[in-house]
């Protein structure tokens, strides 16, 4: 479904990504783990077109999207939940969700899909008129995810959904991620919480200083000594 082939990205003179290779197959949850500043977010932004790759290609369903602008990429079916949630604070919950459907022309079914989001995130139900800025962090994360789903993406990019949230809420969010996947959306998940990410995803990539250093099925990665030492805090 998604193929990142030898992508390098620069911020000015600083190279953030070195020859990244990533593959996501339909129906999978793939996770990208690694410490702060190794290029996980940059990888997502390069896929969604917010940053341009200076080398390599990004293919989505066989189509080269490396040079496409972000709004075209959303139309093709890739939706991103940005880091730090980024809800529209002074718009209501419902308006936020409706903004998520900005690229869609089918007005009738949008209302139906809003209801669908409320089914997936029961905590948001009945609060359509509340301003998004007044929601708690976890609720904002849920809203941001629901909003991304409103564009009916084939591939959902999640950038650190656990950031700044209480452990209990993080567990809840990850349950919902699995649920969204079960309903047929492929997911590429960037996470610092390696433990939870590896337990949720099917396959994983481990990044260090702009490179992929390890990859494989998550069961294998969970038992890998190197991963256990560096990311799971075990001896």
């Amino acid at each position: 479904m998604l193929k990142v082939e030898g992508v390098s990205t620069f911020y000015g003179n600083i190279q953030a990504l070195r020859q990244i290779q990533i593959k996501v197959k339909p129906g999978e949850i793939v996770t990208l783990i690694g410490a702060n500043g190794v290029g996980k977010t940059t990888t997502l932004k390069t896929i969604s077109g917010l940053i341009r790759a200076s080398e390599g290609r990004v293919l989505f369903n066989g189509q080269d999207i490396t040079a496409e602008p972000p709004h075209k990429i959303v139309e093709m079916g890739i939706s991103q939940v940005p880091e730090g949630r980024c809800v529209f604070p002074r718009l209501s919950l419902r308006e936020n969700l409706e903004m998520g459907a900005f690229i869609r022309q089918d007005k009738e079914t949008i209302a139906q899909d809003v209801e669908q989001v409320f089914e997936t995130f029961p905590q948001l139900k009945g609060r359509d008129r509340q301003l998004a800025g007044t929601l708690s962090g976890g609720e904002q994360q849920m809203l941001a995810m629901g909003r991304a789903l409103m564009s009916k993406p084939k591939l959902l990019l999640l950038d650190e959904p656990s950031m700044g949230l209480a452990p209990m809420i993080v567990v809840e969010i990850f349950k919902i991620i699995e649920e969204i996947n079960r309903q047929g959306t492929t997911i590429l998940l960037v996470e610092q919480n390696a433990q939870l990410a590896l337990k949720t995803a099917h396959r994983g990539y481990v990044m260090e200083t702009g490179q992929v250093v390890l990859q494989g099925a998550t069961d294998t990665l969970l038992n890998n000594d190197q991963v256990r030492r560096a990311y799971l805090g075990e001896g």
Binding site: S48, L50, P69, P70, H71, V74, E75, S79, Q80, V81, P82, C86, V87, F88, P89, R90, L91, E98, M99, G100, F102, I103, L131, G133, T134, A144, R147, A148, S151
Partner: protein, 298 residues
């Protein structure tokens, strides 16, 4: 019947309402801090006045011509500068406004610093009222359309707007073009009312005055722009009736602005989430507080 003095005041309120509500689209709804709105006013004023004087254009046609020329410049300037954010955009638009002023100051056709004289008086109370109604109607339609939703999303969070599939640059340029169109319309009305224009009428202070109207009235509110324009235009005039204190009217006027921003930073009409969230008005207040927004006509 109203005396000429009041008619002039109402016409000025009308023109300023057009200026403030079109700037409000850029600042209040799209969140782009532009402080060069006077540039579009002056382009509209000169363009429409010149075709009236030299080519005998009918009034409506010359107004439209002025507005379209302003739109053209709005699009030309918007495309490169709207990639800038916040303060940087403010400086760029300020620079543009100065360039326009200095170009008009040095062109022969505009009469340079002497100004352009002999423009026929065609703006009446009726034309201004109609123009205001059209402006507010069109802007309202835009705000409540798909374009308006995109603009508000850009104001709320540009990155998120981009990841919703909104072509942010495109919509920002559209917003700038529409703002420039109505700015140019205001300029055309201004030129055909006072019959005389000079580059310095549309300088930095004029832009700041438009900004004050938007902030004082309430950003992102149609009524706010109208109330802001009325207040900023009328208060200095009303203070003339203070008798012995009339000399101090600009001081009182400045003080009113400062107090308003302190007490109601979100403007007279303007929304605010909660006490702990800083509104755009507050940010602007902090930014401009040191520059003395009050002492401008002096």
């Amino acid at each position: 019947m109203l005396s000429p003095y009041y008619i002039q005041l109402v016409i000025l309120v009308g023109i300023n309402t057009i200026m403030a509500s079109s700037l409000n689209l850029i600042i209040g709804y799209t969140g782009q801090l532009s402080i060069g709105h006077a540039a579009f006013m002056s382009i509209g004023a000169y363009a429409s006045a010149l075709v009236t004087v030299h080519f005998n254009f009918p009034f409506i046609a010359s107004l439209l011509f002025g507005a379209l020329v302003a739109t053209l410049f709005g699009l030309l300037i918007g495309a490169p500068t709207l990639k800038l954010k916040g303060d940087y955009l403010a400086i760029a638009t300020l620079g543009f406004c100065e360039i326009v002023r200095i170009v008009f100051l040095n062109l022969d056709i505009t009469g340079g610093s002497v100004g352009l004289r002999g423009i026929p008086k065609k703006t009446t109370l009726l034309t201004v009222v109609v123009a205001v109604l059209i402006t507010i109607f069109v802007l309202n339609r835009i705000i409540n359309s798909r374009i308006g939703r995109a603009l508000i999303a850009i104001r709320e969070d540009e990155t998120a707007a981009e990841s919703m599939g909104i072509n942010t640059t495109y919509y920002k340029v559209i917003c700038f073009g529409v703002g420039a169109f109505f700015g140019g319309l205001g300029g055309g009305l201004f030129a055909h009312f006072f019959r005389f224009i000079q580059p310095n009428s549309f300088g930095f202070m004029c832009s700041i005055e438009h900004l004050c109207m938007v902030v004082l009235g309430g950003m992102g509110s149609m009524w706010g722009a109208f109330i802001g324009a009325t207040a900023i235009t009328a208060i200095p005039e009303l203070l003339r009736f203070l008798g012995d204190f009339a000399d101090y009217r600009m001081v009182i006027y400045g003080a009113i602005l400062v107090i308003m921003m302190r007490v109601r930073p979100q403007g007279i009409i303007g929304q605010r989430l909660s006490a702990d969230q800083v509104s755009i008005g507050e940010k602007l207040f902090n930014r401009w507080a040191g520059m003395g927004t009050g002492g401008k006509r002096g």
